[in-house]
Structure formats: C-alpha cells, structure tokens
C-alpha cells in the first residue's frame, strides 16, 4: 500500500483488498485441505505441490503489486518551478520518436509530467508510466510494479482455472456424497473460483492486449493513440520482452541520501583561464589529450566570436534591463511602499499617475533615497548621449548601472566579462527572493532569471541566434526549447526593437531624471516620469510645478480603445494577458480625474491612431512561449512607433485647435523639467522597474492585451497553468467572476477591458483580495508582479491570478 495519499488510507479503501485477500487465501486453503488429498491419491501426487507453488507465486506477485512503489515521482522542489507558475503554458509539447506528445503541468507535483506519467488522484502523486489505480491491491500500477501486477493476473488466472478444474473433478467423482463436508466445501470453492474467473480472465486478456500494443490502461481508456501512432510501442515481441526482462527502475522517493559534502568556494575558474591551463583537470573520466586540444581551439574561437560580436552589439543595450531588474530586486528586498510621483511630459502619464502611485504603493519599490543615490551615481555621462552614440557604450553603461543600483552587491569590474557576471548577482538576488517567499515570487524570478539570461552578453546571441531562427520558423517543436531557454527569444525582440528602445530612456531617467532628450521618439514616454518618490506628495513636487495640467490624453483614450490587433490574438502569453488586464484596471482611478477633452480631438486622434499591427500572425503561436520580457520589448517598439505618429497628430491638432489645449503643450517638451526646478534633495523620476507592476501595466496600457477570441487558433499551449493547488479559495471566486475557457486568461478580460468606471470594475476582472490581507486597491493585486518580499501578499498573491483555474 502506498505510504501517502489520503484516499488510499481511508478505511473504505482497504475493503476491496481485504476481500480479495480473504477470498484468495481462504478459498485456496480450503482447496488444499479438502480437495488436494484426494487429488494426490487419485490423480497424481505432484498435483498439490504444483498447486502450492503456483499459489505461492500468486501471493508473491500480489504482495509485490500491493506494496511496491509504482514509480512515484517526487514533488518538484520550490526552486525548480520558479518559472512555471503563471506564465508557462499548461501543456508542453515534446516530440517522441517523431510523434508530438503533450506533457501536462501537474499542479500538485509542480512539474511537467513526463510522457506516460499521470497523476493518481487517489494516491495524490504522479506515477511514471501510470497504468491505473487498482482497488484490489489498493495501489497504483505503474512502471515499477506493472510486471508484478501482470504476472499476478496471469498466475491468478491459471490458479483459478486449476482450482476450478480440480474441484470440479472432485465433485464429479463424489456425486453421491454431495452433502458431505468435503464435497460441500469443494462446491463452495469451485463456485467462488468459477464466479471470479470470468472477470479475472477478462482483465488478463485485456492486459495481454495492452502489452502487445505497448499501451497502458490509462492510454487505452483515454483513447490517446486510438487513431494515431503510439510512439512508445516496440513491437509485440519486444513489448513482451520489455515486460519480462526490463530492469526494475529505482525507487525515487525512498532513497537514502548519502551525500558527501562538496565544498564550493571562490575563487572560481573561468573558461578563459581554463584554456591557459595546460593539461589540468579536464578529464571527464575520459583521458584524452586530443579532446583537450580540441577544446581549446574551439573555446578560443568561441571567445573571439563573443568578443567580435560584443564590440558592435546589434541589440539595444541590455544593461537597462539589468538596471531595472536590480531595481526591482532591491525594491523587493526592501519591501517598502513609496508613492510614485510622475512628473510627466506626455499626456498619457497623468492618467497613469494615480494608478501608478497606487500600484507602486502596492509594490515594494526602492526607497526614494536609495534610488536617488543610485541614480545619481550613474552620472550624466550615461545620459542619452552615450546611448545614442556607439553601441559599445551599453556594455559599460550596463555595468555601471549594475554598480549603482546594486549598492549591496559587489561592484563589477569593467571588463568584457563583467556584463556576464552581472547576471549572477542578479540571479542571486532572484534566488534570494525565491527563498524569501515561494508564493508569488515566481513571476519576478522568471523575469529576473530570464533577464539574467538576457543580460548575458551578446555572446548569448551566438548560441541562440540559430535557435531563434529555427524557433521562429518552425511551429511547435522548439516550443519546448523555448521554455527551457526562456531568455533566448529576448534577443529576437531586442533585435527587432528600435535602436534605443526604452533602455536608454531608463538610463537617462535614472541618472538625473530630467534629461533633455534630443531624439524624442527614442524612448517610451509611458515610462517617463514614473517615479517612486515616497516622501514627496505629488502636488508638492517641484518637478511638476513647471508642467501644465495633466489632462487625460485623447491619445491615451485612443490607445485604450484601439481595437486589438489580429496579430496579437493568440499571441499573448499569460503574463501579457495579465498585463493587459491590469492595464484595463489601471485607468479607472485616473479616469476619475480626467478632464474632458474636446470630443473632436479625441475622435481625430483616434482616427489617426495606427490600426495596423505589423506582427506576423504566424509568429503568434511562438510567442506563447516567450517570456514577458520579449513581449514587453515588442510592445515597446509598437509604442515608439505610435508615439511618433501621435506626435505628428498632435502637432497637426495643435495647429488645428490652437495652443490652448494643454495636452498638446506637453509633447513638445519631450523631456522632464530641468534639474534646477527640483530641490537638491528630491529624487528624479524613476522609470518603472523592469518587471514591476508599473512596467507591465504601462506596456499593457496601450491596448495590446485585448483579445477578442478566447484562444488562439494555435495549440492549447496558450492555456495557463494558474496557481498552485494550495492557493486560497479566492481562485474559485475569481474563476466564477472570470469567464474562462480552460485556463485561458485572455478571454476573461475581453469584456471588462474597456471599463473605466473605477474600482468596482476592476473587481470584476481581478479577484479582489480580502481586505485584511491586502489593503491596497485591487489593481495592485497584479498577479504577475513579483512581490515576494511583501509580507502580506505572500498568501494573497497565490490566489490572485488571471486565469485561475487549476
């Protein structure tokens, strides 16, 4: 009997087993006592010993089938599924011998079930090569004990046939003494054996068929390979051979861990240093000088390639991502809530400001002093000039960004490998976050982890560019690889992004907050002015004084109400869907303060809004597996393009409607007010940290997240896994509020996406957390925000999902 599983330990679960044991042992015992002496005398003295041996074999197999571990897979550790919570799909496709097999995410065990593995609800664990749960032995039948179960069935069938036959012989020879004890007992025995022989024979025949076809009961019953090809079959004879002769796989759960301590202490070797060592510790158990010689030239080639590619990096500077990530990391570590002041020069931001404030309140941003300090450290040299110049600067800039924003981490030396190393402190931070709280930190950790991957230098492009090409060209096959290497597709997005993207914007804002941008189109205005100045109330912020009133921008409305692009249907992974959801919920508070804008302006602006999305629809399916970082980059590009158009529009509108419209004053001053307006102690605006709520919301605000069709026409990989099964019951309430098909989160937000009434609307989209656990407004319960260190959110976060079915 299995050790775990609540259902299998219930008293009622033992009834079939006990019945089976009683019937088997009882009947056979009576057969041996009452019938076998006559058989030994009349037929052959070898009959009873043979029957005894057969019965002994039946019992042995029965015991093994009952008590042997079926191949239970242990539950995955917390650190293993760090990136598999909200963003990854429910199914992962894998190719087995040319056949696509779906691996489903097991919410209880926290891993993608290997092929042929299934979760037993009675025993509550995943079993390798799961066949079925047999009530007669009260155990799962799986990889390790299927052989014993099958042999038990075979031997039991033979035994029952034997008992029935010999008993019948006895009765036929003792027809005159039918009512004698021996005869009566034999009659009872043969009736029992005859009665149970039929189902047992049927079951044996069924399993013989399964073995010959190479299927499990589970696969047969669910009809997995009915019409298609079974990739797991080896042919009839080989299947039988495998059944009988295969080695018994090990027990995973009950292993004695005899670990010898491995001391891992810095300083650590590096690949560049390795090659300089002549014939050192290179033996992988294979003493081969030729191998070593082969390694060094290839390694040298790789290194040179890396360096070559690094000098003219084709991608926008990744360091900003590091900066943002580190900001997020530090913020989360601190766990403070700061108000975000948003001195904006772009019309859309005023509407966002109260929302962003509230969101940042809900998040755990860096204390303003720290941010100010860190941002000041970067200096003006890393302003837009450095980024608009050669691409070589990002290397240094990122390094310095990491330096400044990670005061608690070790400063990195300026070297070609510094960029690589920066990812490690970040990843250590991600791990720190992980360990601080499992719940809810996954999304952030995913971003940080993947961004850690992304912050690996351009060298990563070498290895991943080929992958990316293949990934983008093929359909489902590489999706598994995508999940394995979530960082890879980032490069694609980055490559596609405009030259400066939003990264230099962050850098510039981080440095002094009021950078006069010579190239207005080169940054995302949404991020401008999003700050986390906690002690400065918005009204008193001197940086705002010089700015005109923040009217809601018709362009913002236009963004909100823009129809979803067909390219994005089916394109958005869950994280972006969540982004879009929260973005829908974000405007409501801002809408309250929105001043009326001439309707004509709005209409004209809406008309001028770009409706075309250039993203190819064929790529939509692939994006299901891309992390939110990639999508964010893509959205950034869209934003920038639209900003350009908006600027043209606004310029035109200004000409049309005159200079009185305040909103049109703002775009012309594409930068924040100069530094001298702000008092020396004030903090400059900080762009939303990458991965933070503001960031995600701002990217989603532009209406990319809207999807009219529930699921893409592509695979079910767009279904989300949702939270862990241990999440709070809020899931059920949210699932009731959210119409969802399977686990898709996007259709749930179709209807409420355009609501701008206020908090009440947001509750219909996002599950409202209980007030006692989460006092902040509901939209702060942004599920994909990584707030692992928030003390009160550890529980609520789990419950807050956008596609909240298990």
């Amino acid at each position: 009997m299995p050790a775990g599983g609540s259902d299998s330990l219930k008293p009622s679960a033992f009834i079939p087993v006990c019945t089976a044991v009683c019937l088997l042992v009882g009947s056979t015992s009576m057969f041996f006592v009452f019938t076998c002496p006559w058989l030994a005398l009349t037929l052959c003295p070898a009959v009873p010993p043979c029957c005894a041996m057969l019965f002994f074999f039946v019992l042995a197999n029965f015991t093994m089938a009952t008590f042997m571990d079926a191949g239970v897979l242990p539950v995955a550790g917390e650190d293993e599924d760090k990136d598999d919570e909200f963003r990854a799909p429910l199914y992962k496709n894998v190719e087995v011998k040319g056949v696509q097999v779906r691996m489903k995410w097991c919410a209880s065990c926290h891993f993608y079930r290997p092929p042929r593995c299934s979760h037993c609800s009675i025993c509550d664990h995943c079993v390798e090569d799961f066949d079925h749960h047999c009530p007669w032995v009260n155990n799962c039948i799986g990889r390790r004990n299927y052989r014993y179960f099958f042999l038990f069935l075979l031997s039991l069938t033979v035994h029952m046939i034997g008992v029935f036959t010999f008993g019948l012989l006895y009765v036929l020879h003792h027809m005159e003494d039918l009512w004698k004890l021996h005869c009566l007992v034999t009659l009872v025995v043969i009736s029992i054996s005859g009665l149970f022989l039929i189902p047992v024979l049927g079951l044996t025949g069924f399993h013989l068929y399964l073995v010959s076809r190479g299927r499990t009961t589970n696969e047969q019953v669910t009809g997995k390979f009915q019409g298609g090809v079974n990739p797991f079959t080896r042919g009839c004879c080989n299947n039988l051979e495998y059944l009988v002769c295969s080695p018994i796989s090990p027990n995973y759960t009950a292993r004695s861990r005899k670990k010898t301590a491995v001391h891992v202490r810095p300083p650590f070797l590096r690949p560049e240093l390795d090659r300089q060592m002549a014939a050192k510790v290179r033996d992988n158990g294979i003493q081969s000088v030729a191998l070593q010689n082969k390694q060094s030239p290839t390694g040298a080639v790789e290194l040179s390639d890396i360096k070559q590619l690094r000098t003219p990096p084709p991608l926008p500077p990744k360091p900003d991502r590091s900066l943002l990530r580190s900001q997020v990391a530090v913020m989360d570590d601190v766990g403070h809530h700061t108000k975000s002041v948003i001195p904006v020069s772009i019309p859309t931001v005023p509407q966002l400001r109260p929302v962003l404030e509230a969101i940042s309140r809900g998040s755990s941003p860096i204390p303003p002093e720290q941010l100010l300090r860190t941002s000041d450290q970067q200096g003006g040299a890393k302003g837009p000039d450095s980024f608009s110049e050669s691409k070589g600067s990002p290397v240094r800039g990122s390094h310095q960004a990491c330096l400044s924003v990670q005061p608690s981490l070790q400063p990195c030396t300026v070297s070609s490998s510094s960029l690589q190393l920066n990812s490690l402190p970040l990843n250590s931070r991600s791990l720190t976050l992980k360990h601080s709280g499992r719940h809810g930190s996954k999304c952030q950790l995913l971003a940080m982890h993947t961004d850690g991957l992304g912050s690996n230098p351009v060298a990563g492009i070498i290895s991943t560019s080929g992958l990316l090409a293949s990934q983008c060209s093929s359909s489902v096959g590489p999706s598994y690889d995508n999940l394995i290497n979530p960082g890879d597709p980032q490069f694609l997005a980055q490559r596609g992004a405009p030259s400066l993207g939003y990264h230099p914007h962050f850098m510039s804002l981080g440095s002094d907050g009021a950078v006069q941008r010579p190239v207005p189109h080169s940054y995302s205005p949404v991020f401008m002015g999003v700050t986390r100045q906690s002690p400065q109330p918005r009204d008193s912020s001197p940086s705002l004084q010089g700015l005109p009133s923040r009217d809601p921008s018709p362009s913002y409305q236009g963004f909100i109400q823009r129809d979803s692009s067909p390219a994005f249907q089916g394109l958005i992974p869950r994280d972006l869907q969540t982004q879009s959801v929260t973005s829908r919920d974000v405007p409501p508070p801002g809408a309250v303060k929105r001043e009326t804008v001439p309707q004509g302006l709005q209409d004209s602006l809406r008309d001028l809004m770009p409706q075309d999305m250039t993203l190819p629809k064929s790529a939509a399916a692939r994006y299901d597996n891309f992390s939110k970082t990639i999508m964010a980059s893509i959205y950034e590009r869209r934003e920038l393009e639209e900003r350009e158009r908006m600027l043209h529009v606004q310029a035109r509108a200004q000409a049309l409607y005159g200079p009185d419209v305040g909103i049109y004053d703002i775009p012309s001053r594409r930068s924040l007010p100069p530094d001298n307006i702000r008092p020396p102690g004030s903090r400059g605006p900080t762009p939303p940290a990458y991965g933070s709520r503001e960031f995600l919301m701002s990217t989603g605000i532009l209406g990319y997240g809207m999807r009219t069709s529930p699921l893409s026409s592509s695979s079910t990989s767009s279904l989300t896994r949702g939270p862990k099964t241990s999440s709070s019951p809020l899931q059920s309430s949210s699932s009731s509020s959210l119409h969802s098909k399977g686990r898709s989160s996007s259709p749930a937000y179709g209807p409420p996406e355009r609501q701008t009434q206020g908090h009440s609307s947001s509750t219909s989209t996002l599950p409202r957390l209980p007030s006692n656990t989460y006092p902040t407004p509901p939209y702060t319960s942004y599920p994909t925000a990584k707030r692992s260190s928030l003390p009160f959110s550890s529980e609520g976060k789990e419950s807050v999902t956008l596609g909240t079915l298990k």
């Binding site: 074999f57 093994m64 242990p74 995955a76 293993e80 087995v96 011998k97 097999v101 290997p114 092929p115 042929r116 390798e128 090569d129 052989r147 797991f232 009988v244 002769c245 080695p247 018994i248 090990p250 995973y252 010898t260 491995v262 001391h263 891992v264 202490r265 810095p266 300083p267 650590f268 070797l269 390795d274 510790v281 033996d283 992988n284 158990g285 294979i286 390694q295 390694g299 981490l409 070790q410 990195c412 030396t413 490998s417 690589q420 190393l421 990812s423 490690l424 402190p425 990843n427 250590s428 791990l431 850690g452 690996n456 990563g460 290895s463 991943t464 598994y480 690889d481 394995i484 290497n485």
Partner: protein
C-alpha cells in the same frame, strides 16, 4: 573555515524524450553556464550520464536472469541483492561526485544527481562568485 559560497542560480537540464521514455538528458548547453565552463566539458558530462543511464536500462541477459531469479525466489532476492539498475546508479553517483570535485566545484557549479529529482532534471547550482566581483 571559509564560508561556503552562496547560491546564485540553478539551471535545470531537462530530459530528452526523443527516444521514448529512456532516461536521456538534453545535451544542449544552457546559456547560464556560458560564463562558467566550457561547452565541451558540459556536453561530455551529459553524454556520459546518458550512456550510463542507457546501460542501466539495457535489456540484456543480466536483467533477464535477475528477473528469473527473483521469480523463483518469490522476489525475496531483492532483500539481499542489488538490482542491476541500482548498481549502475551507484556508478552514476560516483561519476557525478567525481565530476563535481574535479570540474564543477572549481568553477562554482554543483551537479545534483538526477535521481534525487526522480530522473526528471539534472540540477546545476551556480554559486555566486564573490571573489570575481570584487
């Protein structure tokens, strides 16, 4: 005694199911390890592990006789004797320990025996390189 380095990240090498449910791991070099070790070394390690697991799961005369003996003794032989698979698992554990000592630990990495994860992933722990960052 100097303090052990702290964990920076973990990389998980997933199973390779292209040949069915045989225990094989992907030899693809993860990007997180690019700065830490050679691709060749890593691939060599994973390939050796794959070969060892293939040897463990091989359908041969040894496994057949083992099964017969088990049947004849009503499986009581499992109480005293180790199965073929278990023997190879010990070999694998020894190999991983050796790899850790010689190659991975000096580079701030640590291989975890996949048997502890149910033969689903090879977990590679990346340790924070404080000395380098100084």
């Amino acid at each position: 005694m100097r303090q052990q380095a702290s964990i920076a990240a973990k990389v998980f090498i997933q199973r390779d199911y292209t040949n069915g449910t045989l225990c094989q791991f992907q030899t693809k070099f993860p990007s997180e390890l690019e700065t830490r070790m050679d691709k060749q070394q890593f691939e060599e390690t994973v390939r050796t592990l794959n070969n060892l697991y293939a040897e463990a799961e091989k359908l041969g005369s040894q496994s057949f006789f083992e099964g017969c003996l088990a049947c004849l003794t009503a499986y009581t032989v499992f109480l005293c004797m180790e199965t073929h698979y278990e023997k190879v698992l010990k070999k694998i554990a020894k190999y991983i320990q050796e790899q850790n000592d010689k190659i991975y630990a000096p580079r701030g990495l640590l291989l975890t025996d996949p048997i502890e994860r149910g033969l689903r992933v090879i977990e590679i722990t990346i340790f924070e390189d404080r000395s380098f960052s100084r």
